[in-house]
Amino acid sequence: MALVLFFPKGRWHVSSRAFVILLPFLVIAAFWVMARYEARTVHDPTHKSYWERNGMVLGILFIVLVALWTLFLVTLPYLYMVVESFHPRLPPMKRFGPEDYLTLEQYKSLFVSPVDKEWNTTHLYAFFYTIVVSSAVTFLNLCICYPLAYFMAQAGSVQQVRLLMLGLIVPYWVNEILRAFSIRLLLAAKGLINQGLMGAGLTDAPIDFLGNNTGMWVGLSYANLLIMMFPLYNAIESLDKNQIEAARDLGAPWWKIHRDVVIPYAKPGIASGCTMVFMLAAGSLAAPLFLGGPNTLWFTAIVYDFFFQAFNWPRGSAYAFLLLAACITFVMIMLRLFKVKLGEAIR
């Protein structure tokens, strides 16, 4: 069975996996050929070959480590998962057998439920809900973090900034699960907020913050505040104070200064922060699982269920891949919208 995996015999169900495994090697071989060709045609006096520069032992060691990482820990698993998503769900015995053929049925299942052949409204709803909420949380975090980032980057003294920085980082040393837990405590029926509200006479019965998803929103926002802060802070910090001074001198009101000077300059930072927060929010498990109400449908949680409850790995993979595709599309749109290049956004 093992040999069948690696020596494609023209049967589709085998060659798809083998092809995927070969693909990265082909790419590497292509680059290697290009490099040799270029080295041969142009003489570069400073060129020392890779083996000369590192010696045999180190040279082999570096290549092995990097190959292990890029091929076996990054590329091959992803590609393999994608391939898996194009296969039907089969018990272990039947895999690689004649019933293991390429199919789009897992992807279709998001749209048309395989059980009752109707529109898969629950999952579709969950998908869009996840995207919408993640976008909203991204925007919310941007609004929350921007004033503070601006203050820290431009207006604060060095001492204040150091203290604030410390204050920002400390909460993040607490594990995200414990943080979600702490929010739950705060917002629960017997939690402090409800106690306070009832004590002050503003409400009669405890507000179900967790049931109506407020908890989840707070949790998602809270978990990603720092992720938004840092790129924003870095971007605004590099802005020359003099520009702001000049604008102020020319009589611009504060909101115009922000709109016309600070925000355009900080665009890469904004794009970077938004990208990361969106991707982390869409892919997060902890906040929706622990803080969402019983009716919450979070797409990532559905993927989780496919794996641990239904043991339907191909379908889970398909959904995961769709999630990834959605994230990437969103990011691309954001970058296009803000007219920022990919290289700038990745810090």
């Binding site: 003489h43 570069d44 400073t46 060129h47």
Partner: protein, 361 residues
């Protein structure tokens, strides 16, 4: 033990740019040899090619007669002193000096002893345990030299080592380096853009410009008998008088210039009608009308007193002034600014050379 270095038609190209163009040179073992030229002339490139960090695009580098092609910098019998010294900041002074011995597998005790000896030589006795960041510029310089000497190279290569030091220290170090070289007997290959250094320290100098070696000779020859316009204008101050040869013989030539017919020596064998430049050094001019030799006149633009000599600037033909230097206790009276001055020089002190590119101001 010292070795000679031979460059056989060495050319070094970076893409379309030729940094060194067909260098042919034989440096004798045990001599103090300098490459002199403005920045970008290729002298650093030659140094790095000899030490093994660059491969020549054409030609061969030979050290002690052996072809160095394919031999890396760590296997060549050379040691390089970098312009920014490149001392190891995380090692102590003694560890820096002994590093070459360490990689040769010499044991700790012997290494330490050798390092102490060298520390004595460079006048930093007992300071082996300091870190490099605690030293002054001059001290770091000396540690770099000691580090290179520790591996007993056959050729020592120095890349403008004195440029970071201040004037007085620089002048002193010139003498010290020369003395070390004579004592140790190693071949020194020294590159610099400072002609004072090159002239005072070297046995022979190679003057370079734009990748080409213009002339190789000892200091006096390069100064008194430059072979090209570039060498004449780069080494020391010189007054160029461009024009055309109107009369020529085996030893002498007369050049028609903006200041009339000027006479000078003709070692290049120029013929009548050739484009030429007559060069006269500032110190070759004397004030007043001479009994013999060539005379010319020009109004004085400026007079600058500089202690042991006075510079007089006369209006030249183009943008460049004619300069002459008068010693402090010279016989003639120095003219004032605005006056018309008459100066003369003996014909033997004028030099006629083929027209060519001169050193940039």
């Amino acid at each position: 033990m010292s070795a000679g270095v031979d460059l056989d038609g060495v050319t070094v190209r970076f893409g379309n740019f030729t940094a060194v163009n067909n260098a042919n040179l034989a440096i004798k073992g045990g001599e103090f040899f300098s490459f002199l030229g403005p920045s970008g002339c290729g002298k650093t490139t030659i140094l790095r090619t000899v030490s093994g960090f660059l491969d020549p695009s054409a030609g061969k580098v030979r050290i002690a007669g052996q072809d160095m092609a394919g031999i890396g910098p760590n296997k060549r019998p050379t040691a390089l002193i970098f312009q920014n010294l490149a001392l190891f900041p995380l090692m102590t002074v003694a560890e820096n000096i002994a590093y070459g011995l360490r990689v040769r597998g010499i044991d700790r005790v012997t290494r330490r002893k050798k390092a102490e000896e060298l520390l004595d030589l460079i006048a930093l006795p007992g300071q082996g345990d300091k870190l490099v960041s605690e030293l002054s510029g001059g001290q770091k310089q000396r540690v770099a030299i000691a580090r290179a000497l520790a591996v007993e190279p056959q050729v020592l290569l120095l890349d403008e080592p004195l440029s970071a030091l201040d004037l007085k220290l620089r002048q002193h170090m010139r003498n010290e380096l020369r003395l070390i070289q004579q004592r140790v007997g190693i071949t020194f290959i020294y590159i610099t853009h400072d002609q004072g250094e090159a002239l005072t320290m070297s046995d022979r100098i190679a003057v370079m410009s734009d990748g080409v070696i213009e002339q190789v000779a000892d200091g006096k020859t390069v100064y008194d008998k430059p072979e090209t316009a570039f060498v004449a204008s780069f080494v020391g101050e010189n007054n160029p008088f461009p024009g055309r040869v109107s009369k020529a013989s085996a030893d002498e030539a007369v050049v028609d210039t903006a200041f009339g017919k000027l006479k000078g020596r003709n070692p290049s064998g120029l013929k009548t009608g050739d484009k030429a430049i007559l060069f006269v050094r500032p110190e070759s001019f004397k004030l007043g009308k001479g009994a013999e030799g060539t005379t010319l006149e020009s109004p004085v633009k400026n007079v600058a007193f500089e202690g042991n000599m006075t510079h007089v600037f006369l209006k030249g033909a183009g943008k460049k002034d004619i300069t002459l230097t008068v010693g402090r206790h010279g016989s003639s009276k120095v003219p004032d600014q605005g006056e018309k001055a008459t100066v003369h020089y003996t014909d033997g002190l004028g030099l006629v050379l083929p027209e060519g590119k001169m050193a940039r101001e």
